[in-house]
Symmetry: C2
Subunit: 695 residues, 2 copies
């Protein structure tokens, strides 16, 4: 490619995806269990250590460029690779020439930053990993020589405790709510050891033998590292409480923390007549925010890992709150990793399949075609990997080395599990869309055919008329009689069922008390979404109040990995055979963000990037509500009570759908009567619409 003039600021560039993959490698080794390393138990992919950048320029006069690199670099012109330079300034000759810069770095990602009056590194440079793969260079916001990609870290800000108490002679510090960051000791004196027991719950902090995370330091080593009298611990931790045991004679002035976070903008809002629901919404936002980090994590205490199924939901919540696409893209790239594919994402079959759906959602909510293009080949090869694992009937199955997760529940996931077939079908539909976007009509048709065939076969072989839903699994060509909610929920959500089947699923599966209950917020997310899709907003509101409200009643300041109201006292904190094994700040706990934004405020994109959208607000038992949802750069605001609806949007165009017992009125547009009590109003950006109606 050629550029004669290029005026944007220079940015650091690298092999696309490698920044994310390296960051993921580092973050996946951050988890500890009682002070001991606990890295993720899957292959951690690695950046290419050896890459080469290229750029063709045309200059009327010679130009001096300055060069910074992460790694050892050498620059040469026009393929003269025996004549290399590694000086930090180089004078480029006038005329048309090709710059090549090889960079080698076996610890951090090889990266390059070149700036001259016209020649500057950016995404219009290309890079190869020496595999016949000249690609557009990866870049981000690192736009000065000092801002090295390898030094990337999240923002930090000091925070003070809410209270300090003394327990058994040792200070118990409460930061008031779940948080994440680095504990700080101010003006430590005395010689000895300081032992810190972290707790997401008070009970955990007060259990030195059982708390999941802890720290120990010696005051002398702390003294060597302190700055302005402050010793900041090296590793960030998730906690609300810390209980600190120090050797006799060791004292400090006070303890504070450095809160670490992504500086997202809270772009959504929700306020309604039910204060508890308002609180649930706020705590959900905070729960999601804490887990919105280098990547979307499952939980900030545990596992601190990037799980595709968890991220699938975090992505959706994010579209209804921060709309932070950087974390989203980083997460999608890190999850896919590199070839060869030997195991599924996070070792879980369903988690590979969620990745396609997540990537499709990303496109639907953002319209970012460039990102789809960048990931298309990796999507193709992941799908090929998944399709290879179909049995004789064409159903995907877990291999002996695979984990078929579905949910934390008493599930027997042998043979072909119906949920996986639904997810694979949805993944194939996503691939059909991607292929079409890449103008590969043949591939699109092939993926489409596979999707249709799989849906047809799944409905044919898993649907049970008597039980009124999709059965759970099929072993050796025989569908087993177990009925679970999972496949039914996904089939509902993805629109794979007939009107009649949908009604049957709601009645015979979703609202049937004999079908095993769902205990994780992870699957409650889908369960409640499906109930909303079926107009059961009132039920869902009550479920939110009792389930998420139940955690709040137990003092939750962020939402949990799992909640079983039947448990007593501190037994809530146990999981995985550990008394404090449960994560009390789990991204999938923040589902109400999505439920409220999508099903109460009622906002969904109808076409990529919210060029068109549907607004279908439901009070669902509330007296009034008001809220905002981001739609790319812009936003949609909805305000509703029992007799008025106000809608305002900043971009795109959409349709407001609502029901009214009387004939609704609007001075700002023409209301269309659909049928019965259903009405629609076309919405244009930049106008405020006020409707009077009767709930």
């Amino acid at each position: 490619m050629t550029k004669t003039v290029q005026k944007q600021a220079a940015t650091w560039i690298w092999f696309p995806g490698d920044f994310e993959i390296r960051l993921h490698e580092k973050m996946s080794a951050k988890r500890t269990a009682r002070g001991v390393a606990y890295p993720a138990y899957w292959r951690l992919d690695r950046h290419y250590s050896n890459v080469k950048f290229r750029y063709t320029y045309e200059l009327e006069q010679e130009e001096e460029i300055t060069i910074a690199a992460e790694g050892v670099f050498s620059l040469y012109l026009d393929g003269r690779d025996n004549y290399r330079a590694n000086r930090s300034t180089v004078k480029l000759p006038a005329g048309r020439h090709e710059i090549m810069v090889s960079v080698f770095n076996d610890t951090e990602v090889p990266a390059l930053y070149i700036t001259g009056s016209t020649i500057r590194t950016g995404s219009d440079w290309e890079v190869t990993s020496y595999q016949n793969d000249w690609l557009s260079a990866g870049s981000w916001t690192f736009d000065s020589p000092a801002q090295k990609p390898s030094a990337f870290r999240l923002a930090v800000t000091p925070q003070e405790p809410a209270s300090v108490d003394i327990r058994d002679g040792y200070p118990l510090i409460d930061f008031g709510k779940e948080t994440f960051g680095y504990l700080r000791f101010h003006n430590v004196t005395g010689n000895g050891e300081v032992r810190i027991y972290y707790g997401e719950s008070m009970a955990e902090a007060l259990s030195p033998d059982k708390c999941v995370t802890l720290d120990v330091f010696n005051t002398q080593e702390a003294a060597a590292k302190e700055q302005d009298g402050i010793y900041t611990l090296e590793d960030g931790k998730a906690f609300r409480y810390v209980w600190i045991h120090a050797d006799p004679g060791v004292t400090w002035e006070r303890v504070s923390m450095l809160y670490e976070y992504v500086p997202v903008t809270y772009r959504s809002s929700f306020e309604c007549s039910d204060n508890k629901l308002n609180e649930i919404y706020k705590i959900s936002l905070y729960t999601l925010h804490l887990n919105t980090r280098e990547f979307f994590l499952d939980g900030i205490k545990r596992d601190r890992w990037v799980w595709s199924g968890d991220a699938y939901q975090a992505f959706l919540m994010n579209y209804y709150s921060f709309f932070d696409l950087d974390v989203t893209r980083r997460t999608l790239v890190a999850l896919r990793g590199k070839d060869p594919l030997a195991m599924h994402q996070n070792t879980i079959v369903d988690y590979s399949l969620y990745w396609f759906v997540s990537l499709y959602d990303y496109y639907l909510y953002t319209g970012d075609l460039a990102f789809i293009r960048q990931n298309y080949e990796r999507a193709v090869s992941l799908m090929a990997f998944c399709l290879k694992q179909r049995n004789e009937e064409g159903f995907i199955e877990g291999r002996p080395q695979d984990w078929v997760f579905v949910d934390w529940a008493d599930l027997t996931n042998t043979g072909a599990v119906s949920t996986l077939q639904i997810l694979l079908a949805r993944g194939l539909e996503a691939m059909r869309a991607f292929a079409a976007l890449m103008d590969d009509e043949a591939a699109a048709a092939a993926y489409g055919d596979l999707a249709e065939e799989l849906k047809r076969k799944t409905l044919q072989l898993f649907w049970d008329d008597e039980k009124g839903g999709l059965l759970h699994h099929r072993v050796d060509g025989e569908t087993k009689p177990t009925l679970t909610k999972h496949a039914n929920m996904f089939a509902m959500t993805y629109g794979y069922l007939s009107e009649e089947q949908r009604a049957s699923v709601v009645r015979s599966v979703m609202l049937n008390p004999e079908v095993p209950r769902i205990r994780t917020p992870y699957m409650r997310f889908h369960e409640l979404a499906v109930l909303c899709e079926s107009g059961e907003h009132d039920v869902v509101r009550q479920e939110m109040l009792s389930y998420w409200g139940g955690m709040m009643d137990l003092g939750a300041t962020s939402f949990w990995e799992e909640y079983d109201p039947s448990l007593a006292d501190d037994r809530h904190y146990g999981m995985y055979d550990m008394p404090f094994g449960k994560s009390l700040c789990h991204a999938w706990g923040a589902g109400p963000i999505y439920l409220i934004g999508k099903y109460y405020l009622g906002i969904t994109p109808s076409s990529p990037a919210y060029e068109t959208y549907r607004i279908k607000p439901y009070l669902g038992g509330l007296q009034h509500m008001k809220g905002t949802v981001p739609i790319g750069e812009g936003q949609i605001t909805v305000e509703m009570d029992l007799s008025t609806i106000h809608v305002e949007t900043t971009s795109g165009s959409g349709v407001l759908s609502f029901s009214s017992k009387n004939r609704p009125e609007c001075a700002d547009g023409e209301i269309r009567h659909i049928e019965g009590i259903d009405y629609e109003l076309a919405i244009e950006a930049g106008k405020r619409y006020s409707i009077t109606y009767q709930a």
Copy 2:
């Protein structure tokens, strides 16, 4: 696996292959061009940063173990992964338990060293990269906690210059012969810069603007790094001469060097009636030794890279000299690297194919089945990659991104090149053998069928009766009329030609002055081998004396990358458009080691590991010769003049073949008359056989 008692010393263990792959990554970035980095231009594979070791023990009483790791480790028992330890000593409970140790290291290879009174790390531990791949752990000679695999470096020993001269006021230091190592300055005084120009030739050292490698240091920074008054330069270099320019006022007591090398044993020997040939043999050994390093390199100045085609020959030379299997194995593992395969080894199609032949040779010379087993899957996938690149006629071709090398010569390598078909057939035969060793008879048969079919088709479509040999290439279904030696040589060597075809090749191709001459020692290796196979020892001896002797006459102390007797003076040193671009110490220059060992001393294995062998000595115009060749642990010694032959071997059993004009006699065994003047004598280990005969 279970062990109750295990008494060998503990060694560091790692994921198999990763030590070699990491070392290769580092070494591949060592080349410089005039002080600037010049890393290899192919993908450099990387070690897994995240691995887990396991071992099942059974103890009658508890045992304390001490643990060292390269990287962050955590140990747990019996799958209880929430209960981890990272202390350097751990008490293991009695009974039967499974130890798991996860190690994460994103800079060097994760490695583990555990020692207790009975429990010790070794190759009987297993390791996984979390890809469903529990494998026997890799290990080597690192058997103390301090001897970390990442700290591995070759041996060094001080060496002094042969002479110091002053040129243009600056010292020109001659180390007497080609060498490799770190220059050392003793007792430097004064402030300023020191510039060092290295030369494999004197002309190169005396060309500051054109020499390929150079160094610059500042005396102050040198002072900070000196030990006992000696400043040792950081990077090793290849050179015989150095010309040192220092700023005024900078002085030193003397300059020496730290020679860096693999402490191989020179296990072969050769002495004959021709002193020049004796010298050629010695310089060949030295040339090979210099290139026998972390891996077999192409050349020590340039490229300092690991090239499969070059290594193929170095391996063979090594079997006839040092028999160093460590370097061999490291090289084979590094060359194969990791999946996915996108490009050929070193980007060259022929180089992927040589790898199979090299691995087969390794098995033939060593009988090391464990190593074949360790590499079998990677051989299978490399072959699958190669087979995918066959055209409609079933011939392998280079893709647009591939390099079809064959030789440095004016070759047009478009379409299907016959040399590649011969190499692929040989590769398939190797795969047939490996599959049989793995007891996969079906795969062995399939590879065998492919090999036979390819040989048949190649002979059918490339053989030209009129020209009397295999033609060079076939484009779009049409064999081009170009005749070259290359394919014919390989077809001869691998026994793919009929008696009649062989005779025709020798006459019409090999000894035909109208067929383009071969200028590289690389292909002279094969050319001369083929002539020996055809009994042309006298021709080959003369060729050795003129070709290798020609380099010696020009002052060579090691053999070159290329030699063209027609060039004048310093023009010998040029290559690649650089006046000193040629490597004057190139592994492939050491071919006489192989020619002499295999075709004059006449020693070849007839079955793996030299269990049986053939000894077929030829004087080829010499008056007498005496030599030794290693055969695994043992060796074969042959002594021959015009009337006596003495043979002695230390292991295995073999057959001595020779020709005699009279009826030969031997008191130590029964000579069998074959036909005409050909005789054989069965040889057993541990006996000395003396034969009288007439040459």
